[in-house]
Amino acid sequence: MSAGISTRRGATINLVGEAEKILSKANPSKTFALKPENFFGLVPRLMVKEGEKVALGAPIFHSKSDPRIVFVSPVSGEVKEVVRGAKRKILEIVIEAKNGDAVVHEVPAAKALDRETVRDILLKSGAWPFIRQRPYGVLADPDIVPKAIYVSTYASAPLDVDYQFLLKNNIQDFQNGIDVLNHLSDVPVKLSVEANFLNDFESIKGVDKLPIDGPHPAGNVSVQIHNHSPLNMGEKVWEVRPEDVLNIGKLFSNGIFSAQRTIAVAGQSVLQPQYLKTTIGAHLSSLFEISGIDNTLQNRVINGDVLTGKAVALDGYLDYFNNLVTVIPEGNQYRMFGWLPFMDNKIPSLSKTSLSWLFGRKGYRTDTNMNGEERAFVVTGEMEKVFPMDIYPMQLIKACMAGDIEKMEALGIYEVIPEDFGLIDYANTSKIEAQEIIKEGIELMIKEVG
């Protein structure tokens, strides 16, 4: 076990609508979708045509830059539609589920596994995209040995899932997955665990446990890496989400690509917030039919948490990585004199110009209103308060806006990904879109530096 990481800067925003710890099965989804945009930096090359029959685990598209990295169908069925956007960019590949076969891969016994075999099986089976690489949060490069592999079981974002609960019944598969991942790096997998729940992971062997303590974004892997062993120029680390460790474990026990997703359906507009077991890319209606949604409201459905997730249509599909679907009301209403200090204290605020801290005990109800308009950078010091890294966030944001690569590098662009700026988006007075700016900055880095 490594020394614990304890951060103080940040904020836990307590929203109403947390998922109750009941796990049920989602309704069977008739269609599924894969979205290439879920993989940062990916340019996809399609490997199937509309109408083609696909087995579970059959390749659907591959990465243009590395054709070994394939993305496979989470179900057996038929390619129903390839949805394209501007410039024929592939947005979604919709697959209609039908009974059919699964691609079965030959997996040697655990003892016979080595780095090469593990890598090849992960690549061939389509499980490689479960691994993401820092810097930048892109697909992992199969030709390198990472400095470390991080698995964070502490999800600290608002309404985020409880991985202790989610993994409870699958500990064996999780352990298998860890054992497999341990072949890929020279050091044991870093398993970050919320300090109070260390006991729940006592049985997991072969990992270096990092006890984490602190408000959001302490659960973000960037924060953990930064405070444990910060990333230096040229170094690469990998990140795998807990349920994908489990999926990899399953793959290595039966040879079939596993696309299991346990989703916490949460948020103010969800009638019965709960955990539902489904498959990557499932249609959202298969979840909402069980959890229910308050249709009297105009809602926003988010794949992920309210700070970093992606808005999706009510009849859209699950994204690839998220374990959380949040539904909150839209906030397209006016508030008279709402800008006065100490007005509308029910809206959560980290600023002391509001009495909202008095109302947080039972959880806040909030919506998607901007609560103001974008302005120039004026207030200083507020970003640092929610950013538990030894990085100057405002200066980094400004360097990204200016496209000053040397400065971005020096100020720590390698150590962050856009989601780390979710709370800054939320908290900053001038309503600066920090995540978007950092994302553009990282895209520039990839283009210019690689």
Binding site: M233, N332, L350, M370, G372, T429, E436
Partner: protein, 384 residues
Amino acid sequence: MSFLRKKLDDLKRPFGKGQKWERFAPAINAFDTFLFVPNHTTRTGAHIRDAVDLKRTMVTVIIALMPALIYGIYNTGYQYYIQTGESFTFLDAFLHGSWKIVPMIVVSYVVGLTIEFIFAVYRGHEVNEGYLVTGLLIPMIMPVDIPLWMVAISVAFAVLIAKEAFGGTGMNILNPALTARAFAFFAYPTYMSGNKVWVSEASNVDAISGETILGTLAAGGNVNYSFFEMFQGSIPGSIAETSAFFVLIGAVILIATGVGSWRIMLGSVLGAALVGFLFNLWGANALMSFSWVNHLVVGGFAFGVVFMATDPVSAAQTNKGKWVYGILVGVFCILIRVFNPAYPEGVMLAILLMNVFAPTIDHYVIQGNINKRKKRWAAALKTA
């Protein structure tokens, strides 16, 4: 509310996208958003946002300014009536003060906001709220008898040269309100110093001179005010700077709401106290032996430190930098007071000077962070 909203929407229609007056939308939006927080929802980034915005922040500063402003208005009348020797009530003093000061505030807002609106339309962005504070600060730090046209020119100079020339709100190097005062100070020195400007109508009344305490000291005179009078503020001076007590209330509001930086305020007080104390030990002239405690309550020190040095745009932006910046503001304030009797009020020049150096201070703080990172990279390369 919905009736008013509907009327406003009707009124705004010609300013909409693709409509005749689209260019002037920032102007009408500025008024609209003062009635209603707009119905805009998040598009990219975080889906929920904090209730705080720049309007709320700036209005908090205005609220914090109110005690000092109200006392300043009263004190203007008070100083006038004790000079003329007439008997007066609180209301008389307050009315006299309002009669002098309200027109200054109106002129400051009208001139300043007109320029801000023009630039917002010209640059195609919304009107920033920063001027709400600047526009109130400018009259508050002027001598009461300054002609209105001078206020107008100072405001125009500050907004155009100190702010818009640098790119508008958030980009300025110097605090605009202090720039306005410095402009007036150097352009019209006879209206900004001496013993006839600090008390309302002093030049028309042949009575006791209304010299400021620092002015008296610089001229080698004796100060006849008690510490309590200086602290409470019933002394001549720029309109709202005289009362350390009411400025302190403002400081409490700013610190409690987190809007003003306590690091800068505390740093300045420590810096000024230290240098003041050292001069007390030296004690070569009247200003040097003026107690360091008194230095903190007379003149514009308290007002400048609480409301001007803490301007987040022109101050240092890093937390470490704020300490250095604050301490140096305090140090230079006393140094200028003591060593340069031509400028008895040191705080204005001290803050402007440190405004210029704030980016340099931040540069070294950030460079420290960068060097740390690069050292780490180098160490990692060595072991690899």
